[in-house]
């Protein structure tokens, strides 16, 4: 019962905050703050699915690092309401919205009532210990590649962000 209440409230918050990111045309900072709310509510959904490690990672990386990076860039660019730039043509907006509503309705009807049940999982499911065990054995190569990838991204971001490229 409690689980259901939490699920419905958090799903509602996720979708509402995501809509806030898209529909807010006045200020980009509000969009970024909406994104934080969506990420936090999503982390609650992850924890509800017994993925505690991923839930904490979601808060640390998304709400803690990625959105802060967005806010840094928005404030560095010093965007004001008037500098938001022209939005797309109304006709394109209507066509895009209709397309998405159609595709979304199709997807939702596809999933609605699909069979499937939750198997019983132990209390350890989704903890750092269990995920780490698999990460450092079966997926060790992928983990190492992810580390090199992060280093490449770091170097790339520094080079791209430099004022003058020699």
């Amino acid at each position: 019962m409690t689980e259901q209440v939490i699920f419905y409230i958090c799903s509602f918050i996720v979708l509402l905050a995501a809509a806030g990111v898209v529909l807010n045309v006045r200020n980009t900072v509000y969009s970024a703050l909406s994104l934080v709310v969506a990420m936090l509510a999503l982390a609650v959904l992850f924890i509800l699915l017994h993925a505690e490690f991923i839930g904490v990672l979601q808060i640390l990386v998304y709400a803690g690092a990625i959105v802060v990076l967005f806010l840094f860039v928005i404030m560095l660019l010093n965007l004001r309401g008037g500098d938001m730039g022209a939005e797309s043509q109304p006709i394109l907006k209507i066509v895009g919205t209709l397309l998405i509503v159609g595709a979304g309705a199709k997807l939702v009807t596809l999933f609605t009532g699909a069979r499937g049940a939750w198997p019983e999982v132990g209390r350890e499911f989704g903890t750092v210990r269990e995920v780490g065990k698999i990460l450092y054995t079966d997926y060790l190569l992928a983990f190492e590649i992810a580390g090199i990838f992060l280093l490449a991204g770091l170097v790339g971001a520094v080079v791209m962000g430099k004022q003058r490229i020699d």
Binding site: E3, S11, L15, A18, V21, V22, T28, S31, A32, L35, A38, M39, L42, F46, L49, H50, A51, I54, Q58, V61, Y62, I66, L69, F70, V73, L77, D83, G85, A86, E87, S88, L92, T97, L99, I100, A103, G104, L107, V108, F111, T112, G113, A114, G116, A117, W118, V121, V131, I134, L135, A146, F149, L150, A152, G153, G156, A157, V158, M160, G161
Partner: protein, 100 residues
Amino acid sequence: MIEPWQYQVVAALLFMIGVLGVLIRRNVIVMAMCIELMLNAANLSLVAFSRVWGNHDGQIFVFMVIVVAAVEVAVGLAIILRLVANRDSVNIEDTSLLKW
């Protein structure tokens, strides 16, 4: 009791909101945020399926998606920073040199 398909419906709706944002908004930064929304929708779907299957592989995929998202945002925002410094506008329509 919550059924597995309910999580998939939420993930599908979240993904569609992200696609909608990329289609109707022309602000580069908001479009980057909408790409994050789509990645998160995929994450929610993967975590729900990981729970349905009762193993951790889906959660490892989500871990990798989060790593890629972090790198993508760091490099993407650096590119946006250069772009805005050159074009003096965050409107994607002003960057159409390679558009047919």
